[in-house]
Symmetry: C2
Subunit: 222 residues, 2 copies
């Protein structure tokens, strides 16, 4: 299947890239700069595409920052909260309507490149805090994508019912180079180890029973 | 109701602006530069907001042009077709996934500005060629907007079952300054009078029984 994959540079979408290639899909990747604090992830996305020899485009929508106020990831006046994904303060990390926006750009590219589907790495572990990763959102979004143009576009979300630990296990089997993926919401030189994204990543590797090649305990900072 | 209106600078969204203000809504307007050939319309949108004293923001997403290939409006290799909206060649004017993209940005702004709704001027005359103006699309899109964040956002599309002629009649009653609205797909100095947008505009004014203050017959060019 000819597919546009939304590749953030994190471990979920990286695993999805390896999964789609293993399945035999014809993949091109889209990364979006929406002015995120952790825009460092975009370089990781580019590297992943270089080693898989997959076409990669970065859409620079950082001009949208003023429309995305109130999130720790796109508003400098909001600090990145520490803690677990399930915590109430983690809602501060939600970027307004981020996934619908990224899916809209990906769908436009899917239509103009005559692709059949858009894929993204929404998973069950995200459901607690990210409304735009929940099954009811993805179902509604696919309906839009099937109706928005003359060519219906499928929304592929193979991880929607598995969690990040299971993704880590799958990625390990598929040979995903996790040292080339970035999760930390702070986007500094090394992962902070304290934000929700770092904590969730640590739990995923613990579940999978493998060490995180990126996140060595003595390399943490704040 | 606190509303984000997608204002193109054309007569439909201009009428919708006057309609919402007449209804007592608290309106802010969003215009989007998606690299359209007729980006001239953005200046008209700004003027309409200036005279109604409504906040106006233009999101410059013209970097998305490479993702919107194949449309006469965003791809210089495709000429603007002449003829009527109902004609098959008018499909060339469809910009891939344009409305979902604009609605996604507007929804992000609605969330971050604590607005209750996004409004846009999709109408029954558009249904023949623009999939993203049809009722089934707007119904699906509203479902996404109700689910995409913690705050459900309503999709207001009051013109979805009336056509451009009826909009012209309504706008005339509301005192919309149609000489300050732009329709022509070519975006040159004066309207071409031959593209689908010009023809549809002419028919609308004929139906309403009023002259188009912008489009005088002796001012046409190609």
């Amino acid at each position: 299947m000819k597919t546009v994959l939304i590749l953030s540079g994190g471990m979920d979408s990286a695993t999805l890239l390896w999964f789609l290639l293993a399945r035999g899909d014809d993949v091109r990747c889209l990364s979006i700069n929406y002015g995120q604090r952790h825009s460092k992830e975009l370089g990781f996305a580019a590297h992943l595409c270089a080693i898989t020899k997959v076409e990669h485009r970065i859409a620079d929508l950082s001009v949208l920052r003023p429309f995305l106020a109130g999130s720790s990831q796109t508003d400098d006046s909001v600090a990145v909260p520490h803690g677990h994904y399930a915590a109430e303060n983690m809602k501060l990390t939600v970027v307004p309507n981020r996934n619908a926006l990224m899916l809209a750009v990906a769908t436009a590219w899917a239509i103009s490149s005559k692709s059949a589907a858009v894929a993204y790495g929404a998973h069950a572990g995200d459901h607690a805090i990210y409304p735009d990763c929940r099954p009811e959102f993805t179902d509604a979004m696919e309906k839009v994508m099937l109706l928005c143009d003359f060519t219906p576009i499928k929304l592929d979300r193979p991880f929607i019912h598995i969690d990040k630990g299971q993704i880590c296990k799958l990625g390990t089997k598929l040979g995903v180079p996790f040292e080339l993926t970035w999760s930390c919401y702070k986007g500094k030189e090394v992962p902070c180890g304290k934000c929700g994204a770092c904590q969730e990543r640590q739990e995923a590797f613990a579940f999978a029973g493998v060490p995180d090649p990126l996140l060595a305990p003595d390399s943490l900072n704040d």
